[in-house]
């Protein structure tokens, strides 16, 4: 991979299943060393994007380059340079933790010595040295996920794809996976593509986030940049002592404020593009008007609000799953 070339690049990337377009002319670039998040509800098309990028399915149109290689023309070279942690727990239950890592290294043509050195170092990194020789069937979900991260790194890939890495894990295990990814980010130059529908996960781990919905990228920026795209990003609730109606009329023309509403009693609800700058001006103006503020709270905009702003729905909305007769009811078709 060229030093200045993007780790991942898509150009009008499209995937159709029959008449249904799951991914529709998607364009984005991921810089080397970046943690890039694909955020969207189930069925948005993010898993399909990742599956095209990891050569699991062939694009219907457009191009995608990973580690400098076209995924359609050079899938083997792409596979040699990526590590993939799929959404499902895919470690072999009938093998030990060590065997899972060791055999996976063999798939990449690593020598026995390389496998031993890297494997033990990675198992130590994910905190599984003590349990390395136990069957994976005895592991918890969090331990399996950590093992799979170690397995996905055995060949020192340039790009690591994680598809919903903390789904189904308890809060403690989620935190352990996050810490692991933070460590990776600090200690290596690996590029990480993270697919998630957890807002907090995307916000705390990702340098940039693409919001995916209906097979399209509808917004792409840093978490802070995404929030600033939403007008009235900060919400200010305040209660005044005497005359809320007069105060509301007085505040409406003030800079930084987008909306001023009465919220019953002496309560006012304001929205501001920059709450930190607006509050001193507001307090000053109310004092000057001879009134007093008895309470004030500022609520910063969350990614959930950003998502609702762009899509008009929450991340928890899930479309009905499509089920193929041949595949069977237990195997939902993922987009």
């Amino acid at each position: 991979m060229e030093p200045d070339s993007p780790a991942i690049q898509t150009k009008d990337l499209t995937k159709r299943f029959g008449a249904f377009t799951a991914v529709d002319q998607v364009n984005f670039e991921v810089r080397r060393g970046e943690v890039f998040g694909l955020l969207g509800p189930n069925g948005a098309g993010k898993t399909t994007i990742v599956r095209m990028l990891t050569t699991l399915i062939v694009p219907s149109g457009g191009h995608a380059f990973v580690a400098g290689f076209d995924v359609a023309r050079y899938p083997r070279q792409v596979r040699e340079n990526i590590g993939v942690i799929p959404q499902a727990l895919t470690s072999d239950l009938d093998l030990t933790g060590w065997e899972n890592v060791d055999i996976y290294g063999e798939f990449f043509g690593l020598s026995r010595r390389e496998r031993r050195e890297r494997g033990h170092r990675l198992l130590h990194m994910v905190g599984l040295t003590e349990r390395a020789n136990d069957l994976v069937a005895t592991y918890s979900g969090g331990m399996r996920r950590r093992l799979e991260i170690a397995r996905g790194l055995i060949h020192s890939p340039d790009v690591l794809f994680l598809d919903e890495p903390t789904i189904g894990l308890d809060p403690q295990s989620r935190r352990a996976v996050w810490d692991l990814l933070e460590t990776l980010r600090k200690e290596s130059e690996i590029t990480i593509s993270l697919t998630t529908h957890y807002m907090d996960e995307a916000e705390s781990l990702c340098d940039r986030i693409a919001i995916v919905d209906g097979g399209k990228i509808i917004a792409l920026d840093t978490p802070v940049g995404l929030k600033s795209m939403v007008p009235g990003a900060d919400r200010i609730d305040l209660v005044v002592e005497k005359n809320p109606t007069a105060i509301a009329e007085m505040l409406k023309p003030m800079p930084y404020l987008r909306e001023v509403n009465l919220d019953g009693g002496n309560r006012l609800q304001l929205s501001s593009n920059d709450g930190a700058r607006a509050i001193p001006k507001i307090l000053e103006a109310i004092d000057a008007a001879g009134d007093h503020v008895t309470s004030i709270t500022v609520q910063k905009l969350s990614l959930e609000d950003v998502f609702i702003h762009f899509t008009g729905r929450t991340l928890r909305d899930e479309p009905a799953k499509k089920v193929s007769l041949f595949v069977g009811a237990g195997m939902p078709q993922q987009r």
Binding site: I57, A88, T90, I103, Y104, G109, E148, F326, G328, M331
Partner: protein, 374 residues
């Protein structure tokens, strides 16, 4: 590119199977239990058993025996009668598997009957096929009985002494032992299914497959690894069933080490062919339940028409035609001939050729149908 990475898949599968001995145990035990139960409860009337009649007497009573055989051919169709003159060549044709038995009516048969002496009819059967052999003995007893009833003479008591002197061309094979080839083939079928396509579909269902589709493993590495581990496990299962079957029935392999090598070769070829066939048919299924459902169906349509339990000759023409293209028929036939008759390579070369061609065709079909992507 087909490299040595397939060994990693093979190592992985063998480790997994070794940690699930119940799979191997079920592959070995279930066919034996299944066959013993089905085999013992299987009832039916044999038809179209090909026999040769060498009629050297041409006397009154000999003609009556022949008429009875022809009546059985025209009526219940138990036998298909062919006439020949040379008893020696007729016996050789039974050895070669062309006929199920030879009926030899000696020159003085009618004279001995008329004189009240003990008259004998020779019956030489392919006793490896015990059901056919017993049926033919019954047919001849029936024919002889009509002579006893129709011709009452002053020396009547002697007529009841018309007896059959069976001549076995091969060592005695009892019913239980005759099931061994079928047991082996069923173990091969179950083993190839459990260690091959079932494992693959289960891994796919659990999402495990996805993690090696994103590695540089080629389709040949993946398919080769699954095939190698599947054939290894299945062949070990088949060979264990062979020895277990012989131990239970106190039998032995006629023909010594060479015959054993041929048997192992047939087991390996059959395993590879059946594994590739089930893989090409069910490899794309997304749920192991589908493999379970289809495997029961496949087992019925391959196993029962294979001659493992009942002779192929008893089938209606369409089923006999199907049986000729059924790989399990050829596996059962080859194992039966080597195991019980001590047949050499030339005697089973036709079956082995069929199994080899079938294996190659199925491997090509499996590789074409195998998808490297999800």
């Amino acid at each position: 590119m087909f490299g040595l990475k397939f060994l990693a898949i093979m190592r992985r599968d063998l480790k997994k199977l070794s940690r699930n001995p119940i799979t191997l145990v079920s592959v070995i035990l279930m066919p034996i239990v299944y066959l013993v139960i089905i085999g013992n409860s299987f009832q039916g009337q044999l038809k179209h058993l090909p026999i040769v009649v060498v009629e050297q007497d041409h006397g009154l009573y000999a003609r009556r025996i022949v008429e009875q055989l022809l009546a059985l051919q025209a009526g219940p169709k138990t036998v298909d009668v062919t006439f020949e003159n040379d008893p020696g060549s007729a016996v050789d044709e039974v050895r070669d598997g062309l006929y199920k038995g030879v009926v030899v009516i000696p020159p003085d048969f009618s004279h001995d009957v008329a004189e009240g002496r003990i008259a004998q009819i020779g019956l030489f059967t392919d006793n490896v096929d015990s059901i056919s052999s017993q049926t033919l003995e019954g047919v001849l007893d029936q024919a002889a009985a009509t002579v006893r009833v129709a011709f009452v003479t002053a020396r009547e008591p002697k007529l009841n002494d018309i007896s059959l002197r069976p001549g076995w061309l091969f060592p005695y094979v009892d019913y239980d032992r005759s099931l061994i080839p079928g047991v082996i083939v069923m173990a091969i079928f179950m083993g190839s299914l459990m260690s091959g396509v079932f494992n693959w579909v289960m891994d796919k269902f659990m999402g495990v497959t996805e993690c090696y589709l994103v590695t540089p493993l080629s389709r040949w590495d993946i398919a080769g690894g699954i095939l190698a581990s599947g054939v290894t496990v299945t062949s070990i299962g088949g060979i264990l069933v062979l020895f277990l079957g012989l131990m239970i029935t106190r039998g032995k392999i006629l023909g010594g080490p060479m015959a054993l090598l041929m048997l192992i070769g047939i087991i390996v070829i059959s395993s590879a062919g059946l594994l590739a066939m089930t893989f090409s048919m069910l490899g794309r299924a997304g749920h192991p339940r589908l493999v379970g459902t289809f495997s029961g169906f496949l087992n019925v349509i391959l196993f029962f028409p294979s001659g493992a339990i009942y002779p192929v000759e008893s089938f209606p023409p369409w089923l006999r035609a199907f049986a000729h293209f059924n790989p399990e028929t050829h596996s059962v036939s080859a194992i039966k001939q080597i195991l019980f008759k001590g047949a050499d390579f030339s005697a089973v070369s036709g079956d082995i050729a069929f199994l080899l061609i079938f294996m190659v065709l199925m491997l090509i079909l499996a590789s074409v149908s195998f998808k490297r992507t999800l």
